[in-house]
Symmetry: C2
Subunit: 169 residues, 2 copies
């Protein structure tokens, strides 16, 4: 069996965007703090945060008081935006048009008039996947994550944020 | 960027199932002929046909007049069945629960009451993908593929099938 797997970078990136969605406006968190909060490798996380920055989803504020913040309002960043910033927006299924390879091809009429029905059906499913991810924003995730934390975790998280958040001028 | 990619085995397997859906009942096609028809490696194709057989989607008729045929009616084999027979039914997103790793955890209360909202949203999208694939049957694909072939290709394909199909006793 082959396996289709979404890399752990997606999980990391979505969690970071969700945390940043909970910060007050203009506040930032350094990459080092985001790595510590999630118990993941800072080096690898920075690679993914750079992808998010490159896609305009995060802003990287330089300098000793700098860090990351969202690049636009959290309700205007979809889960799909974050996933595609990390994994790319290419389709998972790639039609190689094997229907046109075999012995049953008219030699002077090699091209089909229509896209392969199999390719269409596979891509329709990917559209459904993307539409589902597009329907959830990072703001939704932040609200849901907070609702699932419980009072004690919320208090600990607030204390940790208080120690690590930077307020940019 | 990482890439999420569905292996070409899926494309091959769906095309083979679609061709077998167009055969008369009880007729079979040898793996060698299916490989030739699609211009793909027989060795690799047989591996995937074995996965389909293992999942009950194909039947392998042994012997010199044998070959492959569908394991059940074509309208009872979904595109999802074929994809999962090749790729497995594991989810593409794997939550490693990184929310529980960081420094903001109550030491005596390590477990969250609810599943992570991020995991839920990612898996909801995979449900949408699966539901879309489940809605298309191999019978649908065979009808659509034939509709897209044009008269000359249909005639060539019928001639090729006439030379290669085996009728089991």
């Amino acid at each position: 069996l082959d396996f289709v797997r979404i890399g752990e970078g997606v999980e990391w990136a979505v969690h970071c965007a969700t945390v940043l969605a909970a910060l007050p406006p203009a506040a930032t968190l350094p990459g080092k703090a985001l790595a510590e909060l999630h118990g993941v490798s800072e080096t690898y996380l920075l690679k993914h945060l750079q992808s998010l920055t490159g896609a305009g989803l995060l802003e990287s504020v330089p300098g000793p008081r700098g860090g990351y913040r969202l690049g636009r309002p959290a309700d205007q960043i979809s889960l799909l935006d974050v996933v595609q910033a990390v994994e790319g927006s290419e389709t998972a299924f790639r039609c190689t048009d094997i229907r046109a390879r075999g012995p049953a091809q008219p030699p002077d009429q090699p091209r089909f008039a229509r896209t392969c029905a199999i390719n269409q059906a596979m891509l329709r499913a990917e559209v459904a996947w993307r539409e589902s991810l597009r329907a959830t924003s990072v703001a939704d995730l932040a609200a849901q994550a907070q609702a699932g934390m419980g009072k004690r975790r919320l208090k600990l998280a607030a204390a940790w944020l208080g120690d690590n958040v930077r307020l940019t001028p």
